[in-house]
């Protein structure tokens, strides 16, 4: 199935794709480092495994960036 990940179309061979799998594919080191939206709606970290994606879904994962002053 095809899922748009951060604006880019990606093909997944797996039958079932959840948010955790997408993050693993994208080499996100830890789910704690990102905030995730599926089709524009916020997905809680606790739902990364249970949130199963459909063909054509759009996933955005946005890194937390805390730097600025020090």
């Amino acid at each position: 199935m095809q899922i748009t990940v951060n604006g880019e179309a990606k093909d997944f061979a797996e039958d079932q794709v959840n948010v955790s799998l997408v993050l693993a594919h994208q080499k996100v080191e830890s789910p704690d480092m990102v905030a995730v939206q599926v089709n524009g709606a916020f997905v809680d970290k606790g739902e990364f495994d249970s949130r199963v994606l459909q063909d054509g879904d759009s996933v955005e994962f946005l890194y937390f960036m805390g730097g600025g002053a020090v």
Partner: protein, 267 residues
């Protein structure tokens, strides 16, 4: 406001812009902006906003200048090591433009004091270096209905969004709550390319000026994210989330909280 010949010349490159003009420059002159953090983002923002003639600029920071700051915090010079950051920044801002009134706040913003501080300003520019303060700035600005620019940098990356409380999505709509301590490295732990701070801080300064001039489109409901290694910029559309604990339909955050500071010992 009646501009002197000298001021007309000083601001001539703004005034000549159709979208700014004398009227826009007067709006900039009447603006009151609070910069939170006189560091990597706050330095370039403070210098450009002072140069632009922002009438009142507040700057908050509780720190003193450290030698390791100078690689990117361009408001501070070698001679300033050991000096209060707010005083060091004020000196440069006033030297660039004596028209500007600088208000220094040498303090750490906390749940107990932030609302009182930001209330005197029309716009807040977040240049903080930690998640507890970033969430605190977001929450306080939403509660006080003060627009602000969020900014964050790390390694070769930067991100920013502009929030108009009640009208556009807030930082919590997307990021919800601070990551667990130590889940995300800070700049002092992971490093940052100094020029990134300039790239992002000046984007935030431009957003601030656009807000007052009232021209163009702000980065509302949009996260601008860039990576300087490939020099790619991406605009991520965001929307207000009904489930947002702060600005959603059933808010659970009704008071400010002080989150625990992430341990950050390596300077």
């Amino acid at each position: 406001m009646n501009y002197s010949a000298e001021q007309l010349e000083r601001y001539s490159r703004h005034i000549i812009l159709q979208e700014v003009g004398v009227e826009g420059q007067e709006k900039i002159g009447a603006a009151r902006v609070l910069i939170v953090g006189a560091g990597g983002l706050g330095s370039p923002a403070a210098l450009y906003l002072a140069a632009a003639g922002v009438g009142t600029i507040g700057i908050v920071d509780g720190d003193v200048v450290d030698l390791s700051n100078l690689q990117r915090q361009i408001a501070h010079y070698t001679k300033d090591v050991g000096r209060e950051k707010v005083l060091s920044a004020e000196e440069k801002m006033v030297a660039i433009n004596p028209d500007v009134k600088v208000q220094t706040h040498r303090m750490l913003l906390k749940a107990a004091n932030i609302r009182e501080v930001i209330r005197d300003y029309d716009f807040v520019l977040d240049g903080t270096d930690n998640f507890p303060t970033k969430f605190l700035v977001n929450d306080a600005c939403v509660m006080e209905n003060i627009p602000f620019s969020h900014g964050g940098i790390l390694r070769f990356d930067g991100q920013t969004m502009t929030v108009l409380p009640g009208r556009s999505s807030c930082y919590r709509c997307t990021f919800r709550q601070p990551p667990p301590p130590d889940a995300v490295p800070t700049c002092s732990q992971a490093g940052v390319l100094g020029a990134i701070a300039g790239m992002l801080g000046t984007i935030q300064a431009a957003e601030t000026l656009k807000y007052f001039i009232g021209t163009g489109e702000l980065l509302t409901d949009t996260l601008l994210s860039f990576n300087a290694l490939n020099m790619t910029f991406r605009r991520v559309p965001l929307r207000r989330q009904d489930s947002c604990p702060l600005c959603g339909s059933k808010p659970t955050i009704t008071e400010l909280v002080d989150y625990e500071q992430t341990a950050c010992v390596i300077k």
